[in-house]
């Protein structure tokens, strides 16, 4: 019974995610496709030829997006994991205020703050640099890291760590052999979230990167507003690829064990 429901769930997700993607795939190979034809009347490779041409800048943008996304993910772990642990396992004065401040970036649209941030970044000399873009992506990314990790740590028992310490393990070994394995599934999900948040940023990248830092979304957004559906579809597919990989990865982690499922519901 449980496997039946899980199969239905996976199938449902497959249809919801897959069908729009199938349309995108067809569009990317379409040359003439008008209503009410079910399939294009003429096919062509021009959209993909553009994607692989120098003019599309897709290659360099892909590398830039990956690099920035990885940097944002790693820094989010560095900032968010200790913060989440503190919030989940300890009580301290002003905890409510800290929690509220950490969630503000989710509530307040990033665009509102980005203008002021741009001004500060100009003075810090990080405007128009990849570093500046990484920093501004951290603002929406870190709260998600913390949200997920707080619920992971809320289900976490520090007794195991204490046991390891009494048996003589140092802090690094405790983290590596006790803490990390316990929180790893949740940490992976949170890392993927932050990576995808960075991956999909447009306005913040444009303002802080100033056009010098070209990510994939910087190429995609103008083309979506253009009139050539085939090209927009082809670049969307390149754009959505890591999201799909992430979804597949998350789904596998979810299927593996109860630790993450427990982590997603805060008790």
């Amino acid at each position: 019974m449980s496997s039946f429901w899980r199969g239905s769930l996976v199938g449902g997700i497959g249809v919801v995610v897959g069908l729009p993607l199938l349309v995108q795939v067809i569009w990317s190979f379409a040359f003439r496709w008008y209503f009410p034809d079910l399939l294009p009347s003429e096919w062509g490779l021009h959209a993909w030829r553009y994607v692989f041409s120098d003019s599309s800048r897709v290659g360099e943008a892909l590398l830039t997006s990956l690099g920035i996304g990885l940097a944002v993910s790693l820094l989010s772990i560095g900032i968010g994991m200790p913060a989440a642990r503190a919030l989940a396992l300890h009580d301290f004065p002003g905890k409510g205020l800290v929690e509220w401040l950490l969630l503000v970036p989710i509530v307040v649209p990033g665009v509102v703050a980005t203008m002021g941030i741009h001004l500060v970044f100009i003075h810090l000399r990080v405007a128009d640099t990849s570093l500046g873009v990484v920093l501004v992506h951290l603002i929406p990314a870190v709260p998600y890291m913390i949200l997920v990790m707080v619920s992971v740590f809320a289900n976490y028992d520090t007794a195991l760590e204490e046991t390891a310490r009494t048996l003589g393990a140092n802090a690094v070994r405790v983290f590596w052999f006790v803490t990390l394995p316990a929180i790893l599934p949740g940490l992976l999900v949170a890392t993927l979230f932050t990576f995808l948040i960075s991956w999909s940023q447009y306005v913040t990248t444009l303002l802080i990167g100033g056009g010098r830092v070209i990510t994939l979304s910087m190429l995609l957004f103008p083309l979506i507003g253009g009139s050539n559906n085939a090209t927009a579809a082809a670049i969307s597919l390149v754009f959505v690829a890591p999201a799909l990989l992430a979804l597949g990865f998350t789904a596998r982690s979810l299927a593996k064990g109860p630790s993450v499922l427990g982590g997603l519901g805060r008790p």
Binding site: A30, F31, R32, Y34, F35, P36, E42, G44, H46, A47, Y50, S53, D54, S55, S56, R57, P82, A83, R85, A86, H90, F92, V98, M115, H118, L119, V120, I122, H123, L124, R125, D128, V203, L206, L207, G210, G211, R212, I214, M218, L219, F221, P222, L223, G225, G226, S227, N228, N229, A230, T231
Partner: protein, 413 residues
């Protein structure tokens, strides 16, 4: 207190100190160099990179800019063009405004902007532009600056702060499979057609600029001439003609696509016409229909027409920001854009399919012959037919008043 909260407090304090300390650091204050001699410009530009910010919504324009502009200026002048695609150049003006208020008067990231109309007015009035520079460009002699439609960009005097690179004129696109070979070329005939064919006509919702220009044509139609709208904004004149325009638009509204309950975006209009769901589209690019047929976006039954009372025309320009790092390189690119050789490529329907922005009568005999030899493509009107119907754009305040009026009197009624 536990160690984690101590750590948090420490980091917060460190960040605050860092920000406040560095915020006092001065930014670059030296303004970009001003040139008086073209040879100095060429020498300064050699080996540099120009960061050209432009609308990046067309894969064709992106590729054409790289091939016909980027490669040529690199080969001839040693200038590398880095084309930066943006969805809306207004976003870049916001960035320049922020840099202006931060005192970043040099070393900016933008060297060249594709700009016109309201954005130019904003940039010029906020002192965001480098110049005047137009007189320095040797190829500026091919531009007819005596033409008021060239010397004024939507009523804002150019004053040498931007240089043209393409001409645009509004045309109506229609599907001969639905409309036949004789489209309605007056607003009266168009209204009759719309009433006889419910659901087959619509226009993009304002503030989309294509929807906005369609409404501007109705003001010119109501007044019978463009003259009242070319001067400064006058509420009395506006009130005299506006009711007739709103009556027209409200009169056809029940017969529009989806009974006028919603208006599409400009990009969606392309799909609607391609799919035969509507019979008309409108474009600022007279060559767009032919190009779209060649690109497979439109079926080959699409043709174009202009209204008997004329259609609005304007120019695409390039401008250089006040804090450009590389004004010399930007000047070289701006000069290449109005080179007769480049303009002939631009006007070639098989390559760019744009309208030439320089004065064809100033070309050599051989160049004029080349221009005359072009095959326009199935859906494009000849340049002289278009030129005979070209109307000047009104000033920005008129456009703003018309757009506001449309929202209040048509959209919300």
């Amino acid at each position: 207190m536990n160690t984690y909260s101590n750590w948090l407090v420490f980091v917060t304090a460190a960040v605050v100190l860092l920000l406040s300390g560095c915020a006092a650091a001065p930014a670059g204050t030296a303004a970009p160099p001003v040139y008086t001699d073209w040879d100095d410009v060429l020498a300064a530009a050699k080996g540099t990179t120009v960061h050209w910010y432009m609308w990046g919504g067309s894969d064709k324009i992106n590729t054409d800019v790289d091939n016909d502009i980027g490669k040529t200026v690199l080969a001839r002048y040693g200038v590398t063009v880095n084309r930066v695609p943006v969805a809306d150049i207004a976003e870049i003006l916001n960035k320049l405004l922020t840099e202006s208020s931060a005192g970043v008067t040099a070393g900016g990231s933008v060297d060249l902007l594709w700009i016109n109309g309201e954005n130019f007015k904003t940039a010029k009035s906020a002192n965001l532009l480098y110049g005047p520079f137009v007189d320095l460009l040797p190829n500026s002699r091919y531009v007819n600056w005596d033409d008021p439609a060239m010397a004024n960009d939507f009523g804002t005097p150019v004053d040498g702060y931007e240089s043209p690179w393409g001409h645009a004129q509004f045309v109506m696109e229609y599907d001969t499979a639905q409309v036949g070979d004789t489209p309605p070329t007056t607003f009266e005939a168009l209204a009759d057609w719309i009433r006889a064919h419910p659901g087959k006509f619509t226009y993009p919702a304002i503030p989309d600029f294509t929807g906005s220009v369609f409404v501007r044509h109705l003001f010119y139609w109501a007044a019978g001439e463009p003259t009242p709208f070319l001067g400064d904004f006058d509420q009395a004149i506006f009130d005299r003609y506006a009711p007739q325009v709103w009556d027209y638009l409200n009169g056809i509204e029940p017969f529009l696509w989806r009974e006028g309950e919603t208006y599409p975006e400009a990009a969606a209009m392309t799909d609607l016409l391609a799919n035969g769901e509507i019979a008309f589209n409108m474009s600022y690019s007279p060559g767009n229909a032919s190009l779209s047929i060649a690109q497979g976006i439109y079926p080959d039954t699409i043709r174009t027409f202009v209204f008997e009372t004329g259609t609005l025309a304007n120019n695409n320009y390039v401008a250089i920001p006040f804090n450009a790092s590389n004004p010399a390189g930007a000047l070289v690119v701006a000069n290449w854009l109005i080179d007769p050789e480049m303009q002939l490529i631009l006007a070639d329907p098989a390559r760019w399919g744009w309208l030439m922005t320089i004065d064809p009568s100033r070309l050599s005999a051989a160049q004029q012959a080349q221009l005359a030899s072009y095959d326009l493509g199935v859906a494009t009107l000849p340049a002289d037919v278009l030129a005979a119907k070209a109307l000047p754009e009104p000033q920005g305040e008129w456009v703003a008043a018309m757009e506001k009026g449309w929202v209040e009197q048509v959209l919300q009624k």
